[in-house]
Subunit: 171 residues, 2 copies
């Protein structure tokens, strides 16, 4: 089966959103939830919950834009690990709800990304996914990881790549 | 033209490797190079140069594995911003050297990823790119950004997405 925009979007989003949920389990077992929720890498950078919310937004909005439908709204009201885990689970379910054939057919669909300041980018579906959605998604996934790691949670690359499962090769 | 593994690899790597080079220019103009080169997010995490080297490794090794050739060796000897910028430029040139048709044909190529401890993963080309190479690449790109940002360099999302250029829409 030939590679499509679906293969380069939904499975990638789902894998990392599930990884992120497991990081919160580890964080809850090891450190103060209240302190981690306030963690930032720089004073003017968004704290931990925003990184989860933006990863969710990027994934769900990407799927909706590629499909040409209005994205499901998920207000950024989460203030606990449990609520963030629920947000991740709802995002996974939403991403899973899209028809692979519809996404595969979105390569040339015009995508209008608009910012609050009135500017924005007009993309094709493929340029939107590779130039914006994937880099932006992993920006927030990795920043969430970095905040937990800097906050003392014992995360490592196997947690970041937990979706790969156990190594399937042993010498 | 239909979407291929080339579209989901080389242009993405090249865009972010060039973005990273520009971050170093900003860092050099604003902060102490010696201090930033030692920056880490956690005591047992690799410092700044490693993040640039691992991003380079992931990009060049991904292209080589998909093409079925041995990757160009780039020893991790860089100790200055100028040397890291040269590493990024050499990586971009190497990624650019691959034939898009060869990479596009690598969907089912068996890829053997081996770790120093003797374990590893056996992938198809498509599973290797989406499950390992893209997430791992952006992990190191974003960690490099996070280290510079935490070190006081005035980076923002426009620097992370500098490859998009100026907004092409204005209200």
């Amino acid at each position: 089966m030939s590679f499509t925009l679906y293969d380069a979007s939904a499975p990638i989003f789902i894998a990392s959103l599930r990884d992120m949920s497991a990081w919160l389990d580890k964080a809850a077992a090891e450190k103060s939830e209240a302190e981690l929720l306030e963690a930032r890498l720089a004073p003017d950078m968004r704290p931990l919950p925003s990184q989860f919310q933006f990863a969710s937004d990027t994934a769900k909005n990407c799927m909706a834009r590629l499909a040409g439908v209005e994205a499901l709204s998920m207000p950024d009201t989460e203030t606990t690990f449990a609520e963030l885990k629920d947000r991740l689970a709802r995002t996974v379910a939403y991403v899973e709800s899209f028809d692979p054939a519809v996404i595969a057919a979105s390569e040339e669909r015009p995508i209008a990304l608009r910012f609050p300041n009135g500017t924005g980018f007009d993309f094709s579906g493929r340029a939107y996914l590779t130039g914006f959605a994937l880099p932006n998604f992993f920006f927030h996934v990795t920043t969430a990881y970095a905040l937990l790691r800097a906050g003392g949670v014992s995360l490592g690359k196997p947690d970041y790549l937990q979706h790969l499962g156990m190594p399937n090769f042993t010498a």
